[in-house]
């Protein structure tokens, strides 16, 4: 069992004249499960592939377990990768798929057999060993792909959107298994995904990336609770955070936000750090907006989404802006109803014109 830390030191990458990653530094601790989260094209996969050695590094250094690897071929870096489309060798049996890498480094036969057997046991794919990938279901292929990584006993596991090709139910199940697997192996793992739920549920730390920049690095609840930027706030959490333009008033050092229709949201954001000029917007998650008789903000319900345990209401406010509020599962509200909304000011955030977030004091 070898587990290593991965250090990225001022790593840069260009495609032609376009700089896709610039001077990025990041340390992934030994045994950590880290997720690179972001929309497609944000550079998260490129970064992963640079670590794997599948993309050249134009500047900076990558070290795995302290050893500089950015000049080594992929095979020499001691990492294993699980690809989005699994990239199983279609003409080889499952067993051969698992054995291929080990054979290439001259692992003795009996050792290969032992590891395959062990991996097959862990992943419950023993009965599939003689089959070819074409004869497997998507979930089985996924397991084989993981198995191919597992047998190599790598310094780090790299997952590139491994769940995106599974159907919803299987995705949830696999997610849990991956989490369990990591808890048991404690192997350094980098997990690339565009799905915030996967990142939240699996990772101990999340690197949120957008437009080739790192927006925020933090634990799942940090990311959720204190998004550093408007992008993070919108990207993480479902439904996306509501944003409403506001005027700020002083309330004993804390900011009170006045909405377009004049109603008030009392935030815990200190006034001190806020920019003096420029527009500000308040960001509130749906779960912090409730329907209450005494709610101060009136609005008309346009669309109702019932999720069973809760209900999302798409509400148009008096000034024409819309937001999503949450009500209990068995909500009696009908489209067209007028509702009164109450904001939990304590979980509200403020965002400046540049999208930078201002949070309540902790």
């Amino acid at each position: 069992m070898q587990v290593s830390s991965i250090e990225l030191d001022s790593v840069s990458k260009r495609f032609g004249s376009v700089e896709v990653i610039s001077e990025l530094s990041l340390t992934i601790h030994s045994g950590e499960f880290i997720a690179f989260l972001g929309p497609s094209g944000c550079g998260k996969s490129t970064l992963l592939r640079m670590i794997a050695g599948l993309e050249t590094v134009d500047g900076g250094e990558i070290r795995i377990g302290g050893e500089r690897v950015d000049n080594l071929p992929p095979g020499a870096r001691g990492v294993a990768m699980v690809f989005q489309h699994y990239a199983l060798y279609p003409h080889m049996t499952v067993a051969d798929n698992l054995a291929f890498g080990l054979r290439n480094i001259g692992t003795p036969k009996d050792e290969i057999a032992r590891r395959i057997e062990e991996a097959a046991r862990i992943l419950e794919i023993g009965h599939l060993l003689a089959r070819k990938p074409g004869q497997l279901s998507g979930g089985q292929r996924q397991r084989v792909a993981i198995g191919r990584a597992l047998v190599k006993d790598p310094k780090a596991y790299l997952f590139d959107e491994p769940l995106s090709n599974l159907d919803a139910a299987l995705r949830v199940r696999t997610r849990v298994e991956l989490a369990r697997l990591h808890q048991q192996t404690r192997a350094t793992t980098i997990f690339v995904t565009h799905d915030q739920v996967e990142a939240m549920t699996l990772a101990s730390r999340i690197v949120v990336m957008n437009a080739r920049k790192v927006e925020q690095v933090g634990s799942p609840m940090e990311i959720y609770g204190r998004p550093a930027t408007e992008f993070v706030a919108r990207f993480v959490g479902s439904p996306a955070m509501n944003f409403l333009p506001v005027q700020i008033r002083d309330r004993g050092g804390l900011a009170t936000a006045a909405l377009g229709d004049g109603s008030i949201v009392e935030t815990d954001v200190p006034l001190a750090g806020l920019p003096s000029g420029g527009e500000l917007r308040v960001g509130v998650r749906a779960e912090a907006i409730h329907v209450r008789e005494d709610g101060s903000v009136p609005g008309r319900v346009e669309v109702i989404e019932r999720l069973g345990d809760r209900t999302h209401l798409h509400v148009r406010l008096m000034d024409g802006s819309t937001l999503i509020a949450e009500d209990k599962g068995f909500s009696r509200i009908q489209p067209g109803d007028t509702v009164h909304l109450a904001f939990e000011g304590a979980t509200a955030h403020l965002f400046d014109a540049a999208g930078l977030a201002y949070h309540a004091r902790q």
């Binding site: 592939r49 794997a52 050695g53 071929p73 992929p74 095979g75 990492v79 294993a80 291929f100 290439n104």
Partner: protein
Amino acid sequence: MAASEHIVGRGIGNKLILFTVILVAVFWMLPIAWTLLLSFKPNSELMISTASAFQPPYTLKNYTDIFQSSGVFRWLWNSAVVSVGVTAGILILSSLAGYGFARAEFKGRDVIFILVLLGLAVPEQAVIIARHQIFSDLKMHNTYPAIILPGLSSAFGVFLMTQYFKAIPKDIDEAAMLDNASRFKIFWKVLLPLTIPAQATLGIFSFLGAWNDYLWPLISATKPEMFTITVGMASTQTNFAQSEGLGFLMAQAIFAGLPVFIVYLFFQKYIVRAVAGAAIN
């Protein structure tokens, strides 16, 4: 398979079409049937009139005569050697080059690839005179290499294989890289097995092309013992043969066409698939 054959109400139309096509197919086979018929007639009768083909006597002599006259067997053998040689050569060279152009980066690769693509525009006939001179100067004519090698310069196979390799998801090679496989191993163990459909397409086209090639063997294989079946059959269809040995000539034609036709019937399914494969590429 067929898109509309099950749609209700089109049965009669479909039957009519099928009937027409069967009729056309019968006409399509008439020339071969006629040849077959002539091949069973004694030469001397045909010399007076081919109309005698419709009446007995019929004979197998024309076919048994083939076994005695040395030519056809030797020519079939030559054709087989040449076609297999060309096919193997093209498959090896095109696979290597196709992988190289699609996957293995090196300086100047794209420029070289464009130069190779330009080669698609050069018809064999345009270089045939110069090629003949070159092989003459090397004193290589009337050898198997001389008949085989020019076929290996065709850019078509390289183009086809490059396209095919490009279409294979790159993550397969990447997985292999992470599995510590060398370049050649990735080519040989991982990607090449995936190109078997393309190999089949290219192989069949190359084989048929080489088997049926006429112009180059005609001027390169000039010794009768080096004739391919195509050139050999050309050498037999002189005026004299037609007047005095018509039945024998027809028997030779049937006999010479038979091997590749049988191979075709045998591999029909694959050939159809291979042609379709080429079409979709």
